[in-house]
Amino acid sequence: MKPKVAFFDFACCEGCQLQVANLGEALLDILGAIDVVEFREVMSEKWDKNYDVAIVEGSITDEHAEQRIRKIRDRSAVLIAYGSCATIGGVNGMKNSFVLDEIRQSVYGKDYQLFDSKKTRPIHQVVKVDYFINGCPVYHPEVIEVLKCALRGVPYAVPDNPVCSECKLNENVCMYDRGVACLGPWTKAGCNSWCINNGNICYGCRGMVTNPARNGANDIMARYDLNFDLIRNKFDMYNKCSEEDKNG
């Protein structure tokens, strides 16, 4: 029997789910191997039994979402956190740099309490996650790779080397040599240095490597006369929620 797979979304832009539709006709091959039983963005079908694999996009930002993700976890054999919002909090985490009531009021005015909004959390800070697919958006080849692992029940090792290791192989001119600070040296690879290949910098969307080359990084900071605040400020765009991981 084909495994039952469902897609769910929380606070996010739904772009990572869209990446699935963007697979084109290859999607039909995947649909041949699995049974997609729920995918609200493109399907009206509903499923009331358990899921073999739940693919979850988005961050947890309110009470309702927290209850919903707990129920999904209870019904799912395997849970995949899908995309930066789910794996590290992503851009939703920038909210955590503000006093919650203040930022809510700044957007919604005096009626702000009508909208429940809590501190942003990635999925693993609420329930157990079995597989992580990083990226804003997710990178197609890695999606296929992780799906294969999840369906076979074997672990997937999230790359923990920096983006630079892929960027060098792509023969890009280092952004530091072009006069711009880039987060590649501190960010997990696996995207084939997607942004730098296209002339932009790395924004850290895949999360920080667990063991960055501190001396090398310090050399870079010194050589280009950069201060730590600039780098930290850039990191906050995607990685603000990681502070909670460090605090345990």
């Binding site: 606070a11 996010c12 832009c13 739904e14 772009g15 990572c16 789910q17 869209l18 539709a21 963007n22 084109g24 006709e25 999607l27 039909l28 649909l31 997609v36 995918f39 609200r40 963005e41 493109v42 399907m43 009206s44 079908e45 930002t61 309110d62 309702h64 979402a65 992503g90 851009v91 939703n92 920038m94 909210k95 740099s97 503000f98 930022i103 809510r104 700044s106 957007v107 919604y108 009626d111 009508l114 909208f115 429940d116 909004s117 958006p137 952004m175 072009r178 006069g179 711009v180 600070a181 997607w194 942004c195 290949n197 296209n198 002339g199 932009n200 910098i201 924004y203 600039l230 765009m237």
Partner: protein
């Protein structure tokens, strides 16, 4: 029928982007409630932008929506450049117009084939169509992928474009890239003809309600998508910096959702509005398509927004091909390739400013507005999303439609209401980041 009681509660409407509910409550023939509610979690984008550099706004606001990330990028860039006093080059404008054509193609193909067509064909999603209409599904996925692939070439990827930033492009297409994009688009010509043929067979409910149609208007001959003034079918016209006089957000006692209105109680934005405002500026082939499909301005049936999208698919396809041919003929000036930078290089001088971007995106006119301090740090941000401008109009449509179909079964009423909301192609995660939302028990 006069004493009919109907209670419909569609929680999490499917095949739309984001989370919305349809709630209908009719007690003994009297309509108690007929609402389209937005229940997306607030993401507070405007709040989060405060304190970030104006050069980061495109990257961040692109993440408001995965479907129209290129549209958000272009509106954001326009607002930032307006605040900074940067004038884009002619080449940059052409490339941005090309990107917008790709965005329309991609989004409209997704909506027409995968989100709207299943209703018309009487199935819950495209999945059952894999068996019954295999060639159609394959064509849809093939077209969707192709739109994506040309976007990959132009800006790195479609979901969250990489190379389109304030000042221009960090990577400009090489001659071989222009050739590849042209070949790929030309290879889609048969699929385009099939799409038009399919559209001719789709039957939409008959419904009529006059309203105001709002979108970009201009004095030149081009169908305005990237630049122009804000205009309406009621004869209004404003420069984009006065956009708040057009959107007039207000709170209605019926619902805690924020609505928009201009000359009437509500207005409509999107493909149908653009068609009603500017159909005379469409590409000749798109005009011919509209005639074949029987779409004429001013059309007051919102279900036909999907048909207007098909007309725009033809327009954007032909316009994109014309643009690439023009770029090939004139050659690309690679000196215009810019180095990204959160202004670490000081190449673009920063200043205190207040800038507005007004760009047509697939679902309608989109406004971004940023106020910056003298260091180019954002102090205030405001984004007014097409879906949000449409919500009042959707509800007025629902309220007119409901008594007309009240004699039908609950299932038929639900389907017609769902189809109506879906016809607007609502993008709820976009709209929810500042909408006032009422949570139903």
């Amino acid at each position: 029928m006069a004493n009919k009681t109907v209670k419909i509660d569609v929680e999490y409407l499917t095949r739309v982007e984001g989370h919305g509910n349809i709630v209908i409550d009719v007690k003994e023939g009297k309509i108690d409630k007929c609402e389209f509610q937005v229940v997306e979690s607030p993401r507070l984008f405007e709040g989060m932008l405060r304190g970030r550099s104006i050069f980061e706004a495109q990257h961040i606001t692109s993440r408001i929506c995965g479907i129209c990330s290129c549209g958000h990028s272009l509106a954001s860039i326009q607002a930032a450049e307006d605040a900074l006093g940067v004038t884009p080059t002619e080449q940059t404008i052409k490339l941005r117009k090309l990107l917008l054509d790709y965005e329309f193609l991609d989004s409209h193909v997704l909506h027409v084939y995968l989100l709207a067509a299943p209703d018309v064909l009487g199935v819950p999603s495209f999945v059952p169509l894999v068996k019954t209409h295999n060639a159609v599904v394959r064509r849809a996925l093939r077209m969707k992928k192709l739109c994506n692939d040309v976007c990959d070439i132009l800006v790195g990827r479609h979901v969250h474009p990489i190379s389109a930033i304030v000042g221009g492009f960090t990577k400009l297409p090489r001659p071989k890239d222009l050739d590849a994009m042209l070949d790929m688009l030309e290879s889609m010509r048969d699929d385009m003809a099939e799409t038009l043929a399919l559209a001719k067979t789709l039957q939409f409910p008959d419904f009529y309600r006059e309203t105001e149609y709002v979108g970009l208007v201009s004095d030149d001959e081009e169908y305005p998508l990237l630049m122009g003034d804000v205009g309406s079918t009621d004869g209004k016209r404003l420069v984009k910096k006065d956009y708040r006089q057009a959107t007039n957000e207000f709170i209605d006692p019926r619902s805690s959702a924020k609505f928009a209105k201009w000359s009437r109680d509500s207005y409509l934005v999107g493909a149908l509005a653009r068609f009603n405002l500017n159909s005379d500026k469409l590409h000749p082939k798109a005009k011919a398509a509209a005639e074949e499909l029987g779409l004429k301005p001013i059309c007051h049936n919102p279900y036909l927004n999907t048909v207007a999208q098909v007309v725009e698919i033809v327009h954007c396809y032909e316009h994109a091909i014309d643009l690439i041919q023009d770029l090939k003929k004139n050659g690309i000036n690679y000196d215009e390739e810019i180095v990204v930078g959160v202004n670490e290089q000081q190449k673009i001088p920063v200043r205190a400013g207040d800038g507005v971007g007004a760009v047509e995106v697939p679902r309608g006119i989109l406004f971004h507005n940023y106020v910056t301090d003298s260091n180019g740090i954002i102090e205030q941000a405001n984004c007014i999303i097409p879906t949000n401008q449409n919500i009042a109009n959707i509800e007025y449509d629902m309220m007119k439609l409901l008594p007309e179909i009240l004699d039908q079964t609950k299932e038929e009423i639900t389907l017609k209401m769902e189809m109506l909301v879906r016809a607007y192609d609502p993008c709820i995660s976009c709209s929810a980041h500042y909408l006032n939302v009422k949570f139903v028990e």
